[in-house]
Symmetry: C2
Subunit: 442 residues, 2 copies
């Protein structure tokens, strides 16, 4: 699409998104349910477009893992409908009071949650992801620019049509979402920092890095997923073996699968043979340092292995002398995503929790728990390794900003300055009840 036409469209979307941000939760929830109903009744058309996408992807020789994510089966429809209904039932994220303070008599301050504005979401060829993203953005009152993987283009086009039809009877209109058609469109929106507030790219490391390096719009997400499992000298070795197996093999292509196991030297001899045997159940290829290779059969470590994201049943095992050495290794080679300690020693756990600077830091469980659904966030738009705004799995809360509101009664600052300044009360008030945004008592 031509630059100017696309920019016009995004500017119009921004203006229309304001309808969402100032809407009631009843309006947004009704629309979520209308979308669910409409998706159900129009499923044959969606399925037919999806079939065309799948046939084309097969003809292109796409991997079976991509095809599996691309297929929008009736089961996935059902899960999507359940998701829409669940999101409709969540508490309204708009207008939550985060601070409420009486600055002085008749001078009330509130910090309230408010939508970020316009979010650009670039995601893989997964039609059910489109529905999940739309539901979270609609619930949170954000305008949304969608760009899904090109293999799902036919399905996504029909899905967005169906969603827009669902808006026919809503006061919110259908101009708060748009679907981009090409990677060229993505390149263009990277320059629209005036009109897009946040980008959430998902996909390959290279793509996410590309986005981060080519825009001044804030970006939420993660490029690498180099996660570690540290097996402490005080570990329960049976637990350690099962956690290692799950963390690598339960879904090896996921960003929260482990790439390196760090083993304390004191338990290496008793642990490694059993660990290697368990990993061989899934034909996991092991790279080991010299000490590891002296105890089990493994490919000798080569330069760069500690920084490698294998994304398949392949991992490194590295022996360390101490907890501190494990923490230093994670700091040096990790991507600050998800790192786990296996230990029965509370002090070791606390040290690991405190000193490992990652979005998710766990003790005695699989790295694969790093997920918005498993965390109980309802759903996620992605996992962020940023240190500001949202860190870790990002659900509704990560799609919100805030505003400071004051309702005064004519106060001026000069009263509170000078030689005999009036003092502020700064009285903390309960956060319960409606905010100034919607309250009858404004």
């Amino acid at each position: 699409m031509e630059t100017n036409a696309l920019h016009q469209r995004i500017r119009a979307l921004r203006a229309n998104a304001k309808l969402l941000s100032s809407s009631t939760q009843e309006e947004r929830n009704a629309l979520l349910l209308a979308i669910a109903e409409n998706l159900q009744t129009t499923y044959p058309a969606i399925a037919s477009a999806n079939q065309a996408d799948v046939i084309a992807a097969r003809a292109q020789g796409q991997k079976e893992s991509l095809i599996k994510r691309l297929i929008f089966s009736e089961e996935k429809l059902e899960a999507s409908l359940a998701g829409l209904k669940q999101v409709a039932q969540l508490a309204d994220p708009i207008g939550r009071v985060k601070q409420r303070r009486l600055l002085d008599t008749g001078l009330l301050l509130e910090q309230v949650s408010f939508p970020i504005g316009v979010i650009g979401m670039i995601f893989e060829a997964r039609p059910d992801a489109l529905i999940q993203i739309v539901s979270l953005c609609l619930k949170s009152g954000n305008g949304i620019i969608l760009k899904g993987g090109k293999e799902a283009q036919r399905t996504n086009t029909v899905l967005v049509e169906v969603i827009k039809q669902s808006c026919a009877s809503s006061s919110l209109g259908d101009q708060w979402l748009t679907l981009l058609e090409s990677h060229g469109d993505v390149d263009q929106i990277l320059g629209m920092e005036e009109d897009i507030d946040l980008l959430i790219p998902r996909g390959t490391n290279q793509f996410v890095k590309y986005v981060m390096e080519h825009t001044s719009i804030p970006v939420l997400g993660h490029a690498d997923g180099i996660c570690h499992l540290y097996i402490d000298e005080a570990a329960d070795l049976d637990k350690a073996i099962e956690i290692a197996y799950d963390s690598k093999t339960q879904y090896p292509a996921a960003c929260n699968a482990i790439e390196t196991i760090l083993v304390h030297k004191k338990v290496a001899r008793s642990l490694l043979p059993g660990l290697a045997k368990r990993l061989s159940d899934a034909n996991v290829v092991i790279h080991g340092d010299r000490e590891v290779c002296s105890l089990i059969s493994a490919i000798p470590y080569q330069d760069g292995d500690w920084k490698c994201e294998y994304l398949q049943n392949e991992l490194n095992i590295h022996m360390v002398d101490s907890l501190q050495m494990a923490i230093d290794h994670i700091e040096e080679y990790g991507s600050h995503h998800t790192d786990v300690i296996v230990s029965e020693d509370p002090q070791a756990m606390r040290t690991f929790f405190s000193l490992v600077d990652s979005a998710d830091v766990f003790a005695n469980c699989s790295t694969r728990f790093a997920d918005g659904y498993r965390f109980g966030l309802g759903a996620e738009v992605g996992i962020s390794t940023a240190k500001i705004h949202a860190r870790g799995p990002v659900g509704l809360e990560g799609l919100m900003s805030t505003k400071y509101l004051i309702r005064g009664s004519g106060q001026v600052v000069s009263t509170y300055t000078g030689s005999e300044p009036r003092q502020f009360l700064h009285e903390e008030l309960s956060l319960e009840g409606d905010s100034l945004l919607s309250g009858e008592t404004v």
Copy 2:
């Protein structure tokens, strides 16, 4: 300073800042009080360096407003000491539990607050600002890179020496803060995205914009401060006039002073003569549109006036037909900093609160209340107009990130998937009590 030497220094600071992030609040508070004591006893040396700075600034013909901020008087010392003691008394921002959820028996999730890491703070020639910034960063457990205005270089050098001396008896060491010496150093740190987590630049619009455009490190702050006062048809005109006067003249060079007054046409005739008279008490220069110029004496509007940040006793007055037209003007020309409505109509206030997309949106009070101290945040490191992370005046909370922690007992994800998946409990727990970071019951 040579690039490599500076980069080494910043990397060392990053490593040392971990001591802060894992320290107890007792250690940090003791150090805050030690700094206060040391500043008091070494004040003669500080005052003497400050006198040299002031003499040099006067010799350079610096403006009196700069000199006023540069002077580190005994009164400012006292205020700084009081500030340090106050910050020491604030609740510990590290390890606050923001979410606590039992995912399943023996599988506890917590989201806890944690320092961002290393913060680069670039600020004007105000020695008391250095002390305030150091106190907030130390309290929040963040390493800090300081660059103050060059006119205060002698004072700042002594202040940082004194602060470092105060660390002599602390287990936290003195390597968590450093003072940069030149603008060339600033240019170099803009490229250190691996080692600096957040930049907070204060100063001229041009400088803040320059920083934003030349780094991929997240930047918190604001460039422009184009704030509006809208006087509604339902305004109390006496209040409106006093709020307008305060919002412009109480400190016209501040970012939260107004640049444009929007007047509803229905009240223009009764309001404008009185408003113009009151503004003339401070010799405020008025630029008006055609309608305004037909009612009062004003400089006729010229292209660009609506986007002009005067930073002195000078402003625009613009007549609007409706509340919506005022909101549209603010969206088009404002900088999303602080905007105020004067109205006695609750519905007009709610509409303004909801549709004006600014960090601070007020009703019936001066824009000058947009300030961390006045808000009751204790202090501020700056005011952010970003939509993500922190928006509005930024206090301790804006210097914090989060971590998700899980304490498990051997759980793996494969248990929760497949044909007969175990269900999550997702039971919300009280946020009271110690976090997994420090809890005895980990």
